[in-house]
Structures are given as structure tokens and as C-alpha cells.
């Protein structure tokens, strides 16, 4: 999983072709810790989707600009544009369903 920062976000996400899943999370957030292995397994299974993890405490500006106000928050980008968003803990199946949108 790539660590997303305000320095690399443009190149890794906004200018990236295809699908990028951004996982906004924090160390102190229990539900985020539960989602982490789910997101990692998703990345293993879907090699065509780039997975980026953003720590909201380190990257306040990034989470602000995407109006993240509840975590865990998963945002799916296609060719740099947001196409789907899920908040809270979700099952692996629901995560995979984000791709259908």
C-alpha cells in the first residue's frame, strides 16, 4: 500500500490513469484498524486498482480538501475523479461492489 501525502497525492491519485482506492484512516481509529487488512486483501485481489493510504493526522490538508469527516473513509477515484465513497466498516463484498459504480 502506498502512503499518500500532500506531496505525492497529485501524481499517485489525481494524475493516475484507471482506478485508485484511497483509504483515509488514523492510528487511534479502531474501525480503521479493522478495515486495514480488508483493504490490503482487496489490493492483492484487484491488481488493477492502486491502493493509497492517507493518515488523516499527518495529512490534515488532504482530508480537509476531500471533506473527510468520518473515518474509516474509502474513496475510489477513476482517472483522477471521485466515483464512489464508503464510510465506516464494510464487508469485503461491499468494498468490491464499489467497483461496479
Amino acid at each position: 500500500m502506498i502512503e499518500g501525502t500532500s506531496d505525492n497525492f497529485e501524481n499517485e491519485v489525481l494524475k493516475a490513469e484507471g482506478l485508485v482506492l484511497v483509504d483515509f484512516n488514523a492510528d487511534w481509529c479502531g474501525p480503521c484498524q479493522m478495515m486495514k487488512p480488508v483493504v490490503e486483501a482487496f489490493g492483492e485481489e484487484h491488481k488493477d486498482v492502486k491502493v493509497v493510504s492517507v493518515n488523516i493526522d499527518d495529512e490534515e490538508e488532504l482530508s480537509d480538501s476531500y471533506e473527510v469527516s468520518t473515518i474509516p473513509c474509502l474513496v475510489l477515484f477513476k482517472d483522477g475523479k471521485e466515483v464512489a465513497r464508503e464510510i465506516g466498516v464494510i464487508s469485503p463484498k461491499k468494498l468490491a461492489k464499489m467497483l461496479e459504480k
Binding site: G30, T70, S91
Partner: protein, 309 residues
């Protein structure tokens, strides 16, 4: 189909459900746990659990990952699929999940006994756009999301201890906290109310109910109405909802429940349907804690094992 027949199907992988699974597999039963989200249940939002005997300061996540691994290593199967329906067909109960489609075997399981351990979820305000605005200004967990509202005005809705603790926590983070409560007095502890009264940035908005969420893309305000039907708009960036919890029992239409929706059962965890047991927060009881959830899990599994004979 044979491989989809279980002695015990547990619905819900929180503390009650996973403990039930541990007890049932240790009694040599074939056990499946079905979970619609992630394992762990409500306690995973707690950073430090202070009252679980023998494990002071354990985190909810660490404790529940450990319980999950224990259940799995002992031989319980765990699948992530939301249960949509349970049908009593005599000797077997059929359990239908979100994966079920007519004519397929997918998403359908048979169980000789079912243990319901679905827990509860936050009660919603019931206002228009509430779901859409969740994560865009509406939150049900102040300690999870409070940090996003540093130096911004927020509202807390509710009158119990959760609401009072949320308001206290947020008073140190947010620029202003409106505490909106439909009554003149609080259900929560008096010392918390006294403490809140000492906070300069906390304003009590009493005898008032939320009537409208303001904002298109994100929350910009909350309209409230008081007993004299006077309306007022509170300018806030965040709304923290703490108006209690509701048991996740809607799909169990044939079971006897109390007026709050909790499934009726005594300490033996038997429901009104033979072979169906209930454990944890969704059962009628006075104390909903981790220890009582695991206690229920053990009892329900043992009763299910007795029932199986």
C-alpha cells in the same frame, strides 16, 4: 448442499457471537458465523477498555482480533455476508444472505440451531438527508470524529450520558457546542451536567428537537424547534447524534420482542422459537457490557448444544 448444513449458525461476529462460536466448536459442533461488516462489533470503536477483567487497557480491536483468531483456530467457519432472512423449517432453519439469488445454492445455509447475536446500532434522528450527510457533518461517534471539528461550531443531540460525555469532549476541541435536548432535564448524570455548565463555549438548547439539516454538500446548520414551535437555526459544521441505540433485530419478524425491539429471552437465552437462541446486546436485559455479551454467548451455545442432544 451437504456442506452447507451446520449444527449452529451464529449471526453476528461481535463478542457474543464469537464466544458462542468458541463454545459450540469446543463441543464438537459444526459452526458457521455470518457477519455483514467486519468482525469485532461495537467495542472496536473503544480505544482502551477499562473494565474487562484481567486485560486492563486492552484495545477493542486487539481484544476482538484475538477472540476472532481463537474462534477460527478452534474450527469455526466465518463468512462475511449480511443475513437477510431466517426461516424456521422445523428440524432446519434456513439462513439466507445477501448473496442469495433465486434458483442458486449461493447464499443459503441450513442450520439445526441459530444463535442471534446481531447487537445494536446507533439510533438515527430520522431527518431527511441524514444518511447522505453521514460522514459529511453528521456523526454518531464524538471520540472518533471530534478531531475533524477543531475550532469549529458543533451541535450534540441527546440527553443521556453519551450525549453529555460527547459534549464535554467536544467542548475542548470545538469553538462552540450546542447541546440540543428535547426535555428540560437530563437523563444523564448530574455531575456531568454541572461540569458542562462550567464550560463557557457550551450552550444548552433545551426543550428543543432537531427538525431540519441545513446544507447541500455538507452540514452548515441544524434547525431546531422548541415547545412553543419557535424555530431557530444553529450554525454548525458538525452534528453529533447521541440519542441511544436500536437493536439490529428487524429481520426477525416471528420472534417475540419488547417495545424497544430487543428479542425477549431470559438468562437461558431461549427465544419463543425452538432451536433459536439470542445472545448479547440484542437480548432483553439490564446490563449490556462485554462481559455480559460473552456470558450470553457461552450460555446460548451451551443451550444450543443441549438442544442438539
Amino acid at each position: 448442499m451437504q456442506d452447507k448444513i451446520y449444527d449452529v449458525i451464529v449471526i453476528g461476529a461481535g463478542m457474543a457471537g464469537l464466544t458462542a462460536a468458541i463454545y459450540a466448536v469446543r463441543a464438537n459442533k459444526k459452526v458457521l458465523v455470518l457477519e455483514g461488516k467486519t468482525h469485532g462489533g461495537q467495542i472496536i470503536t473503544t480505544f482502551h477498555i477499562a473494565n474487562y477483567p484481567g486485560l486492563p487497557k486492552v484495545s477493542g480491536v486487539d481484544l476482538m482480533n484475538s477472540v476472532y483468531n481463537q474462534a477460527k483456530e478452534l474450527g469455526a467457519e466465518i463468512e462475511y455476508a449480511e443475513v437477510m432472512k431466517v426461516k424456521d423449517e422445523g428440524e432446519f432453519k434456513s439462513v439466507i444472505t445477501e448473496d442469495f439469488e433465486d434458483g442458486s445454492d449461493e447464499g443459503k445455509y441450513l442450520a439445526r440451531t441459530v444463535i442471534i447475536a446481531t447487537g445494536s446500532s446507533e439510533r438515527k434522528l430520522g431527518l431527511e438527508n441524514e444518511e447522505k450527510m453521514t460522514g459529511r457533518g453528521i456523526s454518531y461517534c464524538a471520540t472518533c470524529d471530534g478531531g475533524f471539528y477543531k475550532d469549529k461550531p458543533v451541535a450534540v443531540v441527546g440527553g443521556g450520558n453519551t450525549a453529555l460525555y460527547d459534549a464535554l469532549y467536544l467542548a475542548d476541541v470545538a469553538s462552540k457546542v450546542y447541546l440540543v435536548h428535547r426535555r428540560n432535564e437530563f437523563r444523564g448524570d448530574a455531575f456531568l451536567v454541572d461540569k458542562l455548565k462550567t464550560k463557557e463555549n457550551v450552550e444548552f438548547v433545551l426543550e428543543s428537537v432537531p427538525v431540519k439539516l441545513i446544507g447541500e454538500k455538507k452540514i452548515e446548520g441544524l434547525e431546531v424547534e422548541n415547545l412553543s414551535h419557535e424555530k431557530r437555526t444553529l450554525t454548525v459544521d458538525g452534528i453529533f447524534v447521541a440519542v441511544g441505540r436500536v437493536p439490529a433485530t428487524e429481520i426477525f419478524t416471528k420472534l417475540k420482542k419488547d417495545e424497544g425491539g430487543y428479542i425477549e429471552a431470559g438468562e437461558d437465552c431461549h427465544t419463543n422459537i425452538d432451536g433459536v437462541f439470542v445472545a448479547g446486546d440484542c437480548r432483553t436485559k439490564n446490563l449490556r457490557q462485554l462481559v455480559t455479551a460473552s456470558g450470553d454467548g457461552a450460555v446460548a451455545a451451551t443451550e444450543a448444544v443441549h438442544y442438539l442432544g
